[in-house]
């Protein structure tokens, strides 16, 4: 199984390569990718240096072009495909059919991966993208149970990549308008969920902190309570007279213990989320997963994750909690 790691900047890319990633994925500094945050992503100079670094170490480099342009913006996304091809990317990760169509005609030899934003959760959906655009791999949305991942692998339509670790989107990716509803900007069109410029923290006299997204109260924290980033799905709300994390708690996905099963199913690649996280995060998560994958190769029988690996991952998780998420039925 390939280990695919995030790079929000050049130091993170180097950390991923040094830590043993088989492939790194990155985005350009604009809205063509789903982590279009200020100060993140690759300038022209960093991009060239990053490609060089990855290729010198014989690793793959993928470019995420996984947002959805409207008719007038499509030209910009085509230019981004051109740029990815020119710099020698090994694959592009796309969701929009207009972008996939252009890439498959203009650069048939540049591998196309279907992004998780493409929301393909079944073998007929994967077959569509395979037949239409010749995708070489598909990243599955984080809604499937491990049994469902196994069924999809059995169909063998296209090699699949699944999320292994990182922030957990609980909605079907590409099908969530919660950020867009509140701010006018969301992952599909603008490449960002809950953009930082809409976030406002207020502290009350008693030390209570409120966090709002474009004026809408997402959560309120007591003085001694840690407060996470206000994505709509991880706020606390009143439902049926009770205040709770009605959609999801601040938690990260961690599928480490499923690794042997994912390998047995024939999953082609495991993906680490977190282009918005720093170099230290990438270095640690990559090292842990590399060690886990290597041991699975060399000593598969009785494989189980080290407690130290799980501790290191939990430390880097959102809210310091991890979950098997949708892979496990009890989460649903």
């Amino acid at each position: 199984m390939y280990l695919v790691c995030p790079a929000g900047n050049l130091p993170a890319l180097k950390a991923a390569v040094d830590g043993g990633a088989d492939a790194v994925y990155l985005g350009f500094r604009d809205q063509t990718n789903a982590r279009a945050f200020p100060g993140l992503n690759f300038t022209e100079a960093d991009l060239l240096a990053g490609v060089d670094y990855a290729h010198r170490h014989r690793r793959k480099l993928y470019v995420a072009l996984n947002t959805y342009p409207g008719p007038t913006r499509l030209a910009g996304w085509r230019a981004a495909v051109d740029r990815a091809a020119e710099v020698g990317a090994d694959a592009i990760i796309c969701a929009d059919m207009g972008v996939l169509d252009y890439a498959s005609r203009r650069y048939p030899d540049l591998a196309r991966h279907l992004s998780v934003q493409g929301s393909a959760t079944t073998h007929p959906a994967l077959r569509y993208y395979r037949e239409r655009f010749g995708i070489a791999r598909a990243v599955l949305p984080r809604v499937l149970s491990v049994q469902q991942v196994e069924r999809i692998c059995e169909q063998d339509v296209v090699p699949v990549e699944v999320f292994a670790f990182g922030s957990l989107c609980i909605m079907v990716e590409g099908r969530c308008q919660l950020s867009s509803y509140v701010t006018g900007e969301g992952p599909n069109r603008h490449g960002a969920c809950s953009p930082a410029r809409f976030v406002r923290w207020d502290e009350g006299r008693d030390g209570t902190r409120s966090v709002r997204l474009n004026g809408c109260l997402i959560d309120r924290f007591a003085a001694d309570e840690p407060g996470g980033y206000p994505t709509v799905c991880k706020g606390r709300y009143a439902v049926g007279g009770e205040v709770l994390h009605a959609l999801e708690e601040p938690t990260s996905l961690n599928t480490l213990e499923l690794l042997p099963r994912l390998q047995a199913a024939g999953v082609a690649a495991v993906k680490i989320e977190g282009r918005q996280r720093g170099q230290a995060y990438v270095a640690t998560v990559t090292r842990v997963w590399r060690a886990a994958l290597d041991r699975l190769q060399t000593a598969p029988s009785g494989w189980r994750p080290d407690d130290s690996w799980q501790r290191e991952l939990a430390r880097l998780a959102e809210g310091r909690q991890t979950t098997l998420g949708p892979y496990h039925r009890s989460w649903h």
Binding site: G98, T122, R127, L144, V172, S180, N214, L217, L244
Partner: protein
């Protein structure tokens, strides 16, 4: 040709008798198209596929165009089997709400309606789907006037365009059931409790402001989007069909109000909320940021 009115698929879970009597009543409303079927959760089986097909035949008999709507999120093989039963119904067009449905319809060379969850953001995506058999596109919830104008300015031959004109906005889908979560039940033992919430389960912010509506695996807005006051703009944008989503009470009056607006071209007073999406703004109505 003036705009046609459609009744979107029922998004909530109602008891069988209530569903049947709702559509029996709807047969008397001034609608042009009725979409039938379960789009949210495959566990909702008060009506089976055969029941929906029988209802479709009855409504077609009354002179309505009937479309069968497919699930928005498919995960299990059993759901694909249900999809195949819809696709192979032999008579009615299907609203494809997921690429699985598009593929099945395309494999059989059947024309279809593209539902609002297909992620069609530009004319190339639309053109490709037209090649696959798409004859009508229900615009995604985020898309507004500007994109419709951009579609037109590309010069492509557009399919029919349908726009969500009334109803709570369908904002997100998950594998998780939020109704079960709110009731502290496991999804696999949910007891079909959605049936107790014929208009979904309201979710408010911690300062008591209505925010969202929980509807099983779907999340909707709390307020009803209302585009009737924009009737002149909708005409100008040459929208072909306006969609009204069923709700527990008052759907008849909403249909009548839209019918009157369409026929008279007179904008009625606003009853629901402004849809920011149509105007290229955040869809959520402005909130008071104090408190």
């Amino acid at each position: 040709m003036s705009m046609r009115l459609t009744l979107g698929p029922l998004q909530y879970f109602w008891p069988r008798e209530r569903i049947l009597s709702f559509y029996c009543e709807a047969a008397g409303w001034p609608l042009d198209v009725i979409y039938l079927g379960e789009t949210v959760c495959s566990k909702r089986r008060q009506l089976r596929t055969a029941d929906w097909l029988a209802l479709a035949a009855d409504l077609a008999e009354e002179g309505f165009e009937v479309v069968l709507s497919s699930l928005a999120l498919l995960e299990a093989e059993s759901e694909l089997a249900s999809l195949d039963r819809l696709v192979n119904n032999g008579r009615f067009r299907v609203e494809a709400n997921d690429m699985s449905a598009v593929q099945r319809l395309r494999e059989r060379g059947l024309p279809f309606v593209g539902g609002p969850t297909l992620n069609v953001y530009n004319h190339v995506a639309l053109q490709l789907l037209c090649e696959d058999g798409l004859e009508r596109l229900v615009l995604g919830v985020e898309l507004g006037r500007a994109v419709v104008e951009e579609f037109r300015s590309t010069g492509m031959e557009l399919p029919e365009l349908e726009l969500l004109a009334w109803g709570r906005l369908p904002l997100a889908f998950s594998a998780r059931c939020f109704t079960a979560r709110a009731l502290d039940l496991a999804k696999d033992e949910c007891g079909f409790r959605c049936i107790d919430y014929p208009d979904g389960l309201p979710l408010a912010t911690r300062e008591g402001e209505p925010f969202l509506t929980v509807n099983g695996v779907q999340v909707q807005s709390s307020e009803h989007c209302d585009l009737a006051p924009e009737i002149a703009e909708l005409n100008e944008a040459a929208i072909d069909l306006l969609r009204i989503y069923p709700q527990a009470e008052g759907t008849a009056g909403i249909v009548a109000r839209f019918r009157k607006a369409v026929d008279s071209k007179q904008a009625p007073l606003r009853v629901g909320s402004t849809s920011g999406y149509w105007h290229g703004l955040p869809a959520r109505p402005a909130v008071n940021p104090t408190g």
